[in-house]
């Protein structure tokens, strides 16, 4: 059976991007700030996604309370306190990894439940600085070693930035020291989140 691919983070959407997503074989894409919970164009289901930058526990809890239990809420934790809250709250869909994220230590590892998400656009930003690149890669590697689910998305804001699923799978493999495409990161793991929220 053919794999079903999901681009879990697209910053905005237009017709060209939808056709590009369809061309690459994506069945769903999660779009930041889209009006309405679900739309379907050219065979691609577009789902609403809420991305929240949180710097405290209160920010995370307020965001998930406002969005509701079935919404796709991804948290960008600016502080360790926000990370500790986002990584264990079941209403949070994913924790987004960025250059300034707190360290993945044993305390974080003990309570971490939610999948982590990394977008290629964020990786490109982090690559400009050695420290942010080290932060991101070590966080992903440690999370993977601790058995956390990883999702890789394009983070595209234009049609040109939409990447094919096999490229994202290989990026995930490279970040987790794998030797072949890590296809679960663009297929199984995001689909599981969508099923849990009755969106698949």
């Amino acid at each position: 059976m053919a794999k079903i691919y999901v681009d879990f983070y697209v910053r905005k959407i237009d017709e060209e991007m939808v056709s590009r997503l369809a061309m690459f074989g994506y069945s769903s894409a999660c779009v930041e700030g889209m009006r309405g919970r679900m739309h379907s164009f050219s065979g691609v289901r577009l789902l609403e996604k809420v991305v929240v930058e949180a710097s405290s526990r209160g920010d995370v809890l307020e965001a998930v309370r406002v969005s509701g239990a079935k919404a796709l809420v991804s948290v960008v934790p600016a502080t360790r306190e926000a990370l500790m809250t986002a990584c264990r709250d079941e209403r949070v869909a994913t924790v987004m990894v960025h250059g300034g994220i707190a360290e993945f230590d044993r305390h974080v590892a003990e309570i971490f439940r939610n999948p982590i998400e990394v977008s290629v656009s964020e990786l490109v930003n982090c690559f400009q600085n050695e420290k942010t690149w080290r932060n991101v890669t070590s966080f992903i590697r440690k999370a993977h070693l601790n058995g956390r689910q990883i999702i890789v998305s394009s983070g595209a804001s234009s049609a040109e930035e939409v990447l094919p699923p096999h490229q994202l799978a290989h990026v995930a493999a490279a970040l987790t020291d794998g030797k072949a495409g890590y296809y679960e990161t663009v297929s199984v793991h995001p689909l599981q989140i969508l099923r849990e929220r009755s969106l698949a």
């Binding site: 290629v120 990786l123 490109v124 690559f127 040109e160 930035e161 990447l163 094919p164 096999h166 490229q167 290989h170 990026v171 493999a173 490279a174 970040l175 794998g178 030797k179 072949a180 495409g181 890590y182």
Partner: protein, 102 residues
């Protein structure tokens, strides 16, 4: 007794989305990013090089290094001052199958 020497398995990666005039600039941009990521040793061990087949450049590397080469390709966002996003079109073990059903 003669020692058995294994031929390294290669992967050929076809790339799309190039706006640069010359494929040498693409090659040097990718190699620069790859060098920053994995160092000169990585560059040497990966066997990364470019095969010129028509308009599209094809990168070849040792098969264990394929994800790392694709990571480097994904991180290239500018070539000759032009905004570029490189996309992998096809990955194959031989040039013959790479060119088939393009």
């Amino acid at each position: 007794m003669r020692k058995k020497v294994f031929k390294s398995r290669k992967r050929y990666i076809m790339v799309n989305g190039i706006k640069a005039n010359s494929s040498h600039e693409v090659e040097s941009a990718v190699k620069e990013v790859f060098g920053r990521l994995f160092g000169l040793e990585g560059l040497s061990l990966s066997g990364l090089r470019t095969v010129h087949l028509g308009k599209l450049p094809v990168f070849s590397c040792n098969h264990d290094w394929t994800p790392k080469v694709i990571l480097a390709l994904s991180l290239v966002r500018q070539i000759e001052g032009k905004k570029t996003v490189l996309k992998t079109v096809k990955i194959s073990g031989t040039i013959k199958s790479l060119l088939k059903n393009r």
